[in-house]
Point group: C2
Amino acid sequence: MDVTALAQSVKAGERRALARAITLVESAREDHRAQARALVAEVARNGRQALRIGLSGTPGVGKSTFIEAFGLLLTAQGLRVAVLAVDPSSARSGGSILGDKTRMERLSRDPLAFIRPSPSQTHLGGVARRTREAVALCEAAGFDVVLIETVGVGQSETMVAEMCDLFLLLLAPAGGDELQGVKRGIMEMADLILVNKADGDLKPAALRTQADYAGALRLLRRRPQDPEGFPKALTVSALAEQGLKDAWGEMQALAQWRRDHGHWDRSRALQARHWFEEEVRQGLLASLTRDPLRGLMQKLGTDVGAGLRTPDEAAGEVLALLGR
Amino acid sequence: MDVTALAQSVKAGERRALARAITLVESAREDHRAQARALVAEVARNGRQALRIGLSGTPGVGKSTFIEAFGLLLTAQGLRVAVLAVDPSSARSGGSILGDKTRMERLSRDPLAFIRPSPSQTHLGGVARRTREAVALCEAAGFDVVLIETVGVGQSETMVAEMCDLFLLLLAPAGGDELQGVKRGIMEMADLILVNKADGDLKPAALRTQADYAGALRLLRRRPQDPEGFPKALTVSALAEQGLKDAWGEMQALAQWRRDHGHWDRSRALQARHWFEEEVRQGLLASLTRDPLRGLMQKLGTDVGAGLRTPDEAAGEVLALLGR
């Protein structure tokens, strides 16, 4: 593969080249990995930056409806929007988020939009690497906004938050005053909480939920990267296309404030650092599946299965050999 | 700490000793780690085995009500039941599952039951290690059933399934014919799907949901470890305490069949092997946070943040140094 030519085409904003480039970074083949690395290094030189927005929400809150309506709002303003998905739970046999492009039929036909479903990867680390590289490719291709969707439970939020400039939490209206089992840790990551489905019968419940979360957010410790009033809880209706413009206005205001006060650069530096650390971790783990370690792991695994060694003893042997 | 004495007390079934032992395996301190390892090796010698049951379900399906009712059913039969929780999403600032023991007030007061909330750990790997060791401790302490609860999205299911003899998926009745966004991968891990809340107004919906899942399960490829008719979908009502005895009957029948046909031992061998592999992975990753690597990671991380090196270049340096 001609990596330099592919990099040129990506930087020229050619969608087909971008899709091919992402397929390359998704590949687990060693030779592809080297090419992917060269490609990402090559495209990163043009220094373009998109607004990286992470979006989390459990199934049923209307994530795809929101992404479609929000994406169309942005493209109507002439902005180019890329949508990527992170769904580690799809590891075993293919997931559902963004799996079906017809979920966002209008947005996927929009020439200013680019939608890429979650890849099937066995490890969250593999998904993380691919997503970081895909974000870099989308930025180089001139997208203004890169939206990274993830499911609303587990460690994938933390991972997505570590590669984003803004983090949105999408919620459905809750019955009563329950806070929907949203983990405090996830709330603490959110820059903006959007209570969706604020339309029709659900509108009163949505407003109550929004008030509940606004109250809960006020109880959190103020973060240095937030101006007065943030993080914020708003209501939106993706279906009725209401509140989206306001939400986008808040995102822009927050991003601008962070740029003006040095937090943007600090966040980007931290994002790069997380990337580095994750690469080291994944590289170390990958060595276990390659010779000569692979053979040893298999032999000891068999011994452990047969009860000849305890898991701990066998692990100690491998680690001692590696000088760890 | 006198590890041998603690091991004796654990094996004698003393709850307070068990609680202290689990606290020890949860500790991240290096000296505690060595003691924990010695403790687990020591207690494992008595060779007792519990039935390890994994239980997954998203927030709102009634997991704690189910665990309480199911646990009380077992203790009423004279069985000793330990309940552990795996909640990686609690990493950042403490989670909610089993965090509040009052959720299972009756069970927690039962002398035959032992309930242990999820520890706060930064990594899923750390949670995995602690849980495996806690399971080993509970088995040595003579518990008949160890129930491992996890939340219903993400990779924690896979992790729990890798340390269990049986895996249950708890669901709520769904509206219409939607399959609740349950990932195919999770369905494929389940030995038993329990549709909870099959009482009152929700009963018809629960029956429909059960039929939907029974149909979906029939479409999956038959697994070697299943007798005819498994995996199975049933309805239960934890609140009305209905269907639990049947569900327990199915679990026992399945476990017995697997014992009789060699699958139990094979599964235990595989569980031990997963444990070994995870120990190696965690050991490798832990070395990054200890000197001399820690210093290098920090220096390169700073360089990456400052843009002096790309994440990939810096990672390459570390990995080259380690001969990976």
